[in-house]
Amino acid sequence: MTPNATGVDAAIDAVTAVLLIVGAIMSLGAAIGLLRFPDLMSRMHAATKPQVLGLFLVLAAIGLQMREWWVWPVLAVAWIFQLLTVPVSAHMVGRAGYRTRHLHPELLSVDELEAVVLRAAGQRAEEKAEGEPGMPRMRDGATPGPD
């Protein structure tokens, strides 16, 4: 940042400051979510989403400060790497968590995967146990209309 900036420099510095602070707050939000959410699955939401936005804001701040065009593709590559990896690792952790029963069933209003998993495990669970609202299992590509 430029010391004693004026004009455009001051404006860019102000925007940078806001971006950096909001980016840091996103990290804090992830930590608050980790501490306050009751089960692994909700903590996963807290761990993935603010991380992506936080990195985006901070990288944008870097781009504003460097003021050279070639920085932007570099930053874009860094962010796209994050964009591609974060959902995959969240999915892997979530899948492992579901399969090892890290889930707290009392926190779920509906669980439509349970029946499928039980069937796959060879345990004939009664599938309408949780009284799920009629979820037609589509095998022919037809879907219920959006409205």
Partner: protein, 92 residues
């Protein structure tokens, strides 16, 4: 201006790191710890990036990308390892 931004972000990130470390310490399960370690890594990345923005250099950029890749490989590896021990029911 520079000092204010540095102080505010340092405090916020320290609090966030403390939260993540607390979650790593108490668990309760391995996957919670992995998740919290991932967040801690992201917080370190944010600190590196803020340093780059404030001091106008790009020296840490490759480190930042490497950090997110390491986090990715780490969580995927542990998740697979945990999923393989599906037989043992872990009630936590």
């Amino acid at each position: 201006m520079k000092d204010i931004v540095l102080i505010v972000t340092a405090v916020v990130l320290s609090l966030a790191a403390a939260g993540a470390i607390y979650r790593i310490a108490v668990g309760p399960s391995l996957l919670d710890r992995v998740l919290a370690a991932d967040v801690l890594l992201a917080i370190l990345g944010a600190a590196l990036a803020i340093d780059m923005a404030v001091n106008r250099h790009l020296n840490n950029l490759v480190l930042l990308v490497a950090l997110s890749l390491i986090g990715f490989i780490g969580s995927v590896t542990v998740a697979r390892f945990v999923a393989d021990r599906r037989g043992q029911v872990n009630d936590s």
